[in-house]
Symmetry: C2
Subunit: 245 residues, 2 copies
DNA sequence: GCAATAGTTCCATTATTCGGAACAAAATTT
DNA sequence: AAATTTTGTTCCGAATAATGGAACTATTGC
């Protein structure tokens, strides 16, 4: 898995030696491990002998994505929210201190459509992430925040734990989060938290758009819609899950 | 990997015992293997103790997809073809006797947008698949066809190797393939083959639409556009790859 | 409350991986 | 073009980790 990560994180196909320098393992060992991964279809070798991620992962991921219950339940609500706002809607799920985007619904041009799905971003500088964090209990929140390193993606990115915790208490008070160009310059969003009954799974929905089009007033106006969508998703999940447990 | 496949192929989360009955392994062994997969994030356990595919795969797949060179090169051509025809355009790559869809560009409604990406379908009953097969040399083609089992997805699905080979020689003669409701009832397409210089990688582009809207005449009219798109992709790949090798 | 089923842990045996070294093939330099 | 360095591949005894039967615990259904 460490090798898979190395290859997946690279910008392009990697030669044997490139991998060798990143994974600190003897050459013989590395060679055998790579061969096994290739056998399994997790890696592939191009005609220049360079390694890249195999298609098998795409197939596996696609199947599990399509059958993901939470995603399926949320889908109609995401579409409705998209139509109400005519901006891009995201569904993200909290994993540790990261948000993984599970779905995305765009308006007209579906350029770069898959770009976000599956993408992992730091929770502290995304709307969905902060919304999800706000649903954590204080001890758990403190633990996750303690482990964070704050990187400044833009000039508006929160700088430290204090700023984050203060923002989170504001989010708790009003019930929704803003991201005002904190992760990407020129991109703003409103987001609302989704929590499962047992509090085990935390997620969020957001409405995102370019700052020139999406004014603070608009974000404010969309907040109730976003919260409503999040609540509907929670309700549907509860109904779906209820009977079993 | 066998376990991952079992879990990924299931319709929903699987209990320990469900997996036990499919994977023939002693309980102790299976339990430990599942635990390792969970540790690595390849599997996850829901609150009912059932196993499902982990998000890590989605993240890995997403990264490699976004950086896939072939996909990136093809993308603008797919968009152009989509605009020219205003129907859905697919890019698929041949793996053995299967086609794996690498990209999809839709018109207005982007419902089920990711549904196809990463999906593997039999080559013999899809436009892209037959187009790609037609670019194989005869010995290689014979070998791959010999291993096929022909399942009848619709009443138009090709029934056996003879029908397939005959269709393929027609495809070779005219340079493009049709799928007339052979995989899914009510769905037709035209497809053109893409071959890399060394013939190592085979792929295809297709224009797909519902039979009531997409008449044979239209398919015929789109054929040259599809072939042109495939050729442009081939050219771009050649230029991109050329300098290096 | 009790049986049956489901899930988890343990540990001696067994099988696999490890990694150094030798070997082979390219790429680079002289 | 030959020599040298860099890169990629194979081999095999030693070290390590996986195996799977059995014992144990927890959960479910009657």
């Amino acid at each position: 898995m460490a090798l898979l990560d190395v290859v997946a994180l690279a910008d392009g196909p990697m030669r044997f030696t490139d991998i060798l320098s990143l994974a600190d393992q003897p050459r013989g060992t590395l060679h055998r491990q790579l061969s096994h991964l290739v056998e399994e279809g997790l890696l592939e070798i191009d005609r220049d002998g360079r390694y890249l991620i195999g298609l098998r992962l795409l197939t596996l991921a696609s199947r599990s994505w399509a059958r993901n219950e939470f995603r399926a339940v949320a889908e109609p609500h995401l579409h409705r929210l998209q139509e109400e706002t005519s901006e891009t809607v995201h569904l993200g799920i909290l994993r540790g201190a990261e948000v993984i985007y599970l779905d995305k619904v765009e308006g007209r041009q579906s350029v770069r459509m898959y770009s976000q799905i599956g993408n992992a971003s730091p929770a502290y500088c995304t709307g969905v992430g902060k919304a999800a964090l706000s649903a954590l209990g204080d001890p758990e929140l403190a633990a996750r925040v303690a482990a964070l390193e704050f990187r400044r993606y833009t000039e508006h990115t929160l700088r430290n734990a204090a700023e984050l915790l203060s923002d989170i208490s504001a989010i708790r008070a009003r019930g929704y989060a803003f991201d005002l160009e904190e992760h990407e310059s020129g991109i703003c969003c409103v987001a609302a938290p989704i929590r499962s009954d047992d509090g085990h799974m935390l997620a969020g929905v957001s409405v995102t758009g370019p700052a020139y089009r999406v004014t603070p007033q608009k974000l404010q106006a969309w907040a109730p819609l976003t919260v409503a969508a999040a609540d509907s998703i929670m309700m549907d999940m509860r109904n779906r899950m209820g009977p079993k447990r």
